[in-house]
Symmetry: C2
């Protein structure tokens, strides 16, 4: 096992996207935001609660052969604001970007108000404005201030 | 990157449990069976749709510093009957075991019958008998024959 310490927790990928510096423990919520739940066809590597160089814990998600778009990754900012997105081509970082919290969230988060029209059988997607006070439902004025991860659709 | 091919997709762990040979794409359902969803404190490594030596795809889950018990892992047999469980101590395989489908499942699977007493507000856990025809609800006689992963509680 002498070579073990040289290996990374999860190995580099040839092509795809690496989401690094995810808030510790939030990797599965990040995957949920990306629509990856249950049985999957994706080639993924996930590591949770990894001790990083700065002795802080973090999660990492690697998705092979898929380059995530900016709109897809910005949703991640809701639960992992320090995440960085690395687009990998032929083992090299082709593009590196942070995540920015979008101003408006369409169909990302479920409104906690059971009476909200978005929770009825009407074909209406939820629509939240991101404010300093929390996520503001543009239909019923409810503010979602905690457990955002638990309300992701 | 010359040393890259020698690295495994996810690196060995010092102590804990490795669940290997999981049916390709089912790793997140395996985690759900183990109660690991959403935000987690566990140190996990997950790889999905890995090409194994036999050129077949499989998933792998590594859980550090936790040794899964036989009862916990047997539930995994429902969706990944070829999975193997390796208990790791100091980087070595201390114990290796297959998974056996339990005869009776308590509170593992939700009955698809909306009228079943286990789907009412009564404090009754689901109870299925595992038969050749599928999972047989011992309360309402319903047979669950497909999408078992989607019915895991």
């Amino acid at each position: 096992m002498s070579s073990e310490p040289k290996c990374l927790q999860i190995s580099p990928i040839k092509n795809g996207t690496v989401i690094d510096h995810i808030t510790a423990g939030e990797a599965f919520n990040v995957l949920r935001i990306l629509g990856i739940t249950g049985t999957t066809e994706e080639r993924l590597s996930v590591a949770t609660n990894v001790v990083s160089r700065k002795s802080e814990r973090k999660d990492i998600v690697k998705i092979e052969n898929r380059e995530l778009r900016k709109e897809e990754v910005d949703r991640i900012a809701l639960i992992a604001p320090n995440a960085t997105i690395n687009i990998i081509r032929n083992y090299l970082v082709f593009e590196k970007k942070g995540v920015d919290i979008p101003e408006i969230l369409h169909g990302v988060v479920r409104c906690p108000n059971p009476g909200c029209i978005t929770n009825t059988r009407e074909p209406i997607q939820s629509r939240f404005e991101v404010t300093a006070k929390g996520l503001h439902c543009l239909y019923c004025d409810w503010y979602l201030t905690e457990d955002i991860a638990g309300h992701i659709i």
